[in-house]
């Protein structure tokens, strides 16, 4: 059993590498860019202290910024997403609280839970990210269109990664 702290550090590095080396070079249809790296924030354990949640999100955001010349934009979007995470978890949890040891993944909490959880947070992240990038509301509907398309592709990658990495326990 690997220490959860170490596991998250390894995940941080792997996702960062995957994002800057491969996904940053993928432009579907010219401008749709999946941002899989936010999977790191989604998969942080429920027991993570809130301050660590914010700091870790800021760290991964600023690291992605460093490699894509978008100073601060990813960091701002990630911190906002992390800020929303506890509220979203409370909003969609059917039972009161979660059993200790349960992780926010499909295997433990089911497809429906994970889908709505990641849909809301990915949308929030992309909304902040794209509007900060444009830095004006003058192209509002076009930006919304980009947000929606990119959200769909990021979400598909996130769900796929769940089925590839976490096999069903037999």
């Amino acid at each position: 059993m690997i220490n959860p702290f170490l596991r998250n550090i390894v995940r941080f590095l792997l996702l960062l590498f995957f994002q800057i080396a491969i996904l940053n070079n993928i432009h579907l249809g010219g401008f749709i860019n999946p941002y899989l790296y936010i999977l790191f924030i989604l998969l942080l354990p429920f027991e993570t202290p809130k301050w660590l949640l914010l700091i870790a999100s800021f760290a991964i955001g600023i690291s992605v910024d460093m490699f894509s010349d978008t100073t601060g934009i990813h960091a701002a979007a990630c911190v906002f997403m992390a800020f929303c995470r506890p509220a979203v978890i409370n909003l969609i949890s059917s039972n009161q609280g979660y059993e200790p040891g349960i992780k926010p993944i499909i295997r433990d909490l089911g497809f429906n839970w994970f889908f709505s959880y990641s849909l809301i947070l990915v949308f929030v992240h992309h909304l902040v990210l794209f509007f900060l990038e444009v830095f004006s509301f003058s192209e509002f509907f076009y930006t919304i269109y980009r947000v929606l398309l990119s959200t769909i592709f990021t979400l598909i990658l996130i769900i796929l990664s769940q089925y590839i990495i976490y096999r069903k326990k037999k």
Binding site: I20, A21, N24, N25, H27, G30, F31, I32, N33, K50, W51, L54, I55, F58, G61, I62, D65, M66, F67, S68, D69, T70, T71, G72, I73, A75, A76, V79, F80, A82, F83, P86, L132, E133, V134, F135, E139, Y142
Partner: protein, 276 residues
Amino acid sequence: MRNFFNFLIRQYFFFLFLILEIISFVLIVQYNYYQKSSFINTTNNISGGILSSFHSISEYFSLRETNQKLAEENARLLSEAAKFYLKTDTLTHFQKDTIYNRQFVFTTAKVLSNSTNRRNNYLTLNKGSKHGISIDMGVISSNGIVGIVKEVSSHFSSVISVLNKETKISAKIRKNGQIGTVIWEGGNYRYGHLIDIPTHIKPLIGDTIITSGFSNSFPEGILIGTISDFKIEKGDNFYTITIKFLNDFNSISYVNVIKNLMKPELDELTKNNKND
């Protein structure tokens, strides 16, 4: 006072959130609106170094294309070389030329990172101030214009692409010399717009757009694109012209950075105009 601190501690999640957001916003604003060199971009040694090692792998995938482009450019340059011209006038004799004074010098650089999918796109080059690159120099590739140098460190430089909200390139229609401005309004990276062309002239689809030479970054006559569509908006005195860029910005691997040797002199001369 104690109550205040208790309040801060109870609401620490919100305040930490606020602090981190403020840091990000300061970084964004600083990077966008001042030409200050900030640490967090690809021109610093750590990320620049890592990106260049990624690039050394990925450039193998485009070797064939790059070779072809270089070969084409070689062929074009060869055909322009003086020794391949036939001397038809046997009476003239050559002597040292004092009419021409060298104005532009080109430096080749490799593109380490590039994007076309964002609203504001940047490129990173593998040459910096050590190789004589400085801010505001123009960047072109064999197919035409690419961007303008925005920031330099000792080994790397960051270039604002034509595909950026901030970029405005002074351009003209080659056929009739009408001056306009080339901008990019997002969306498809193959198409941009030429604005400020008055309605009394007649553009044609397929006309070539070149740089005007009015800015000190580019010489006159660098290719930009061709007209693919034009219309007049109701009540507007200017055409809205859609142009197709000749450069495929997504496949740029080698570029030339232009140094204007007369730039200090020109800047000195036009300095007073701006003050008025």
